[in-house]
């Protein structure tokens, strides 16, 4: 436990010292939320807009830290031989991955807190759902997105390729899941296609709970099953394919 605590503390400090990703993941959800409210201010669609789409804004932070920061930090450590230094100490890959997930997960939680606070302060948003169920759903969605991030971290050959992979996964996930652009304004064919995205499944659960649906009803759903399955598969795959060093070097 002390190992995790000490490494978590150090990595958390380091994350704050490179503020680019932190600023991105903390500010972007608020900006997107503000713009959406502004655009749809006089639109009939605006009634109950925030209540029904809060989950989407919170998931922007999850994606920024889970699909960008997490794989980029790990593949940077691999490219610069930081992981190789860890390889010749008694640390396990599982511990290193856990620490990074905890660090980036904390960032996503802080980002969600800031977004929710901004919604309450500036757009008089009130949370109607069950907080415990919402937190559970949030962690479930974060777990799913982070496990996908871990697979990128483990399989990307080097830092540059990790960057490319991150963009390939990150932008469609964010743009098409209803996190950036409200899902309901998509044409039907696009909605059908986008409904396959893991983040879409997560946003459905989050939105339902935030809009006041019974926690149990929202959590015990096929969407939860999909998320759990992705977490299991991706975590296993990332541990199995974990590399300390660049291939072929």
């Amino acid at each position: 436990m002390k190992k995790i605590r000490t490494l978590y503390k150090t990595e958390m400090i380091l994350a704050w010292r490179s503020p680019d990703s932190v600023i991105f993941g903390m500010i972007m959800p608020v900006v997107v939320m503000g713009l959406t409210v502004l655009i749809y201010k006089d639109h009939p669609y605006s009634r109950g807009l925030l209540e029904e789409t809060m989950g989407a804004y919170l998931s922007i932070g999850i994606c920024a830290f889970g699909l960008m920061s997490l794989p980029l930090v790990l593949s940077d450590y691999r490219s610069r031989k930081v992981l190789k230094r860890f390889q010749v100490t008694p640390v396990s890959p599982g511990l290193l991955l856990t620490v990074q997930v905890l660090v980036q997960g904390s960032m996503a939680l802080i980002s969600a807190g800031i977004t929710a606070l901004a919604a309450a302060l500036f757009f008089s948003w009130t949370f109607q759902g069950n907080p415990a169920a919402f937190l559970t759903a949030f962690l479930l969605v974060a777990g799913c997105i982070f496990s996908i991030g871990l697979v990128i971290a483990s399989t990307a050959k080097d830092f540059k390729k990790a960057g490319v992979l991150c963009s390939i996964v990150y932008f469609p996930m964010l743009l098409l899941s209803g996190a950036m652009i409200p899902y309901s304004v998509f044409p039907l064919w696009l909605q059908t296609g986008a409904s396959w995205l893991p983040l879409r499944q997560g946003i459905i659960i989050l939105n339902r709970i935030a809009a006041g649906q019974q926690g149990k009803q929202a959590l015990f759903s096929p969407e939860t099953g999909v998320l759990l399955l992705i977490i299991l598969l991706c975590t296993g795959l990332s541990l199995k394919t974990f590399r300390w060093d660049l291939p072929g070097s």
Partner: protein, 235 residues
């Protein structure tokens, strides 16, 4: 007793065969040098021993264990300083030490040793000079008082005074019972430190022995000239 035995080690990369059947053993409590020109297979040999590279053929027993299978257990007792390893961006020296010692059981003391070497724990590790970085990475590799310490090109980039300090440190470790296995390009260093050496050339063992024996074999009173003669004779 031998702390390390390597038998018929072979390792190829896509374009070349880097190590072609190297065998040797290192007795406990000695300083052992692996020498050879650039590209002779020193670092590859070292990495196959440590398990950071997968060998194609051969056997390696380090502290009577298989380095790849018993990695976690082994690196409680083994310290490594790599030529090309580095640490996280914008990390302070103290944070680096703290997050290194916590990986070992029992957790070794670091503050006093950092101070003894004149490091400030609050300083950013990135801002250290090349030589200071080298000194810090040797310290990080030896904080847990390993039974075996691997040092890859240990004093490259160090000024003469720092080199002497590092040499003293290594002798002190040996006298306390640590086995040191190092690679070096400096023959004065090899002569001053090594109890025995292995000379690699093009992935094979060219010769082995004490620095005195190498000088005799190379037909010169200076180890550097003997080394050049031996390599020249094989080329």
């Amino acid at each position: 007793m031998n702390i390390l035995t390597v038998e018929h080690l072979r390792k190829s990369y896509v374009r070349c065969q880097a190590v072609k059947g190297v065998s040797f053993a290192v007795p406990q409590g000695s300083i052992f040098g692996i020498l050879g020109p650039n590209g002779s297979g020193k670092t590859t040999t070292l990495e196959c021993i440590l398990g950071t590279k997968e060998m194609d053929e051969g056997t390696v027993r380090l502290l009577d264990r298989d380095p790849r299978r018993d990695r976690k257990m082994l690196f409680e007792r083994v310290g490594v300083q790599f030529q090309d390893s580095s640490w996280q961006n914008s990390i302070r020296i103290g944070e680096l030490c703290e997050s290194t010692v916590v990986l070992y059981t029992p957790e070794p003391e670091w503050r006093g040793r950092l101070k003894a070497l004149g490091f400030d724990p609050k300083q950013m590790a990135d801002t250290l000079s090349g030589g200071e970085k080298q000194k810090l990475s040797i310290l990080l590799a030896s904080l847990h008082n390993p039974e075996v310490l691997f040092l890859d090109e240990l004093t490259t980039g160090l000024d003469p005074l720092s080199r002497r300090l590092v040499w003293d440190k290594i002798r002190e470790l040996r006298d306390r019972g640590t086995t040191v296995i190092l690679t070096s390009h400096f023959m004065d260093e090899v002569e001053a430190l090594c109890d025995s050496c292995l000379l690699l050339y093009k992935g094979k063992v060219l010769t082995r022995g004490t620095p005195e024996e190498l000088k005799k074999e190379g037909g010169s009173a200076s180890l550097e000239d003997a080394y050049i003669n031996l390599i020249g004779g094989a080329a």
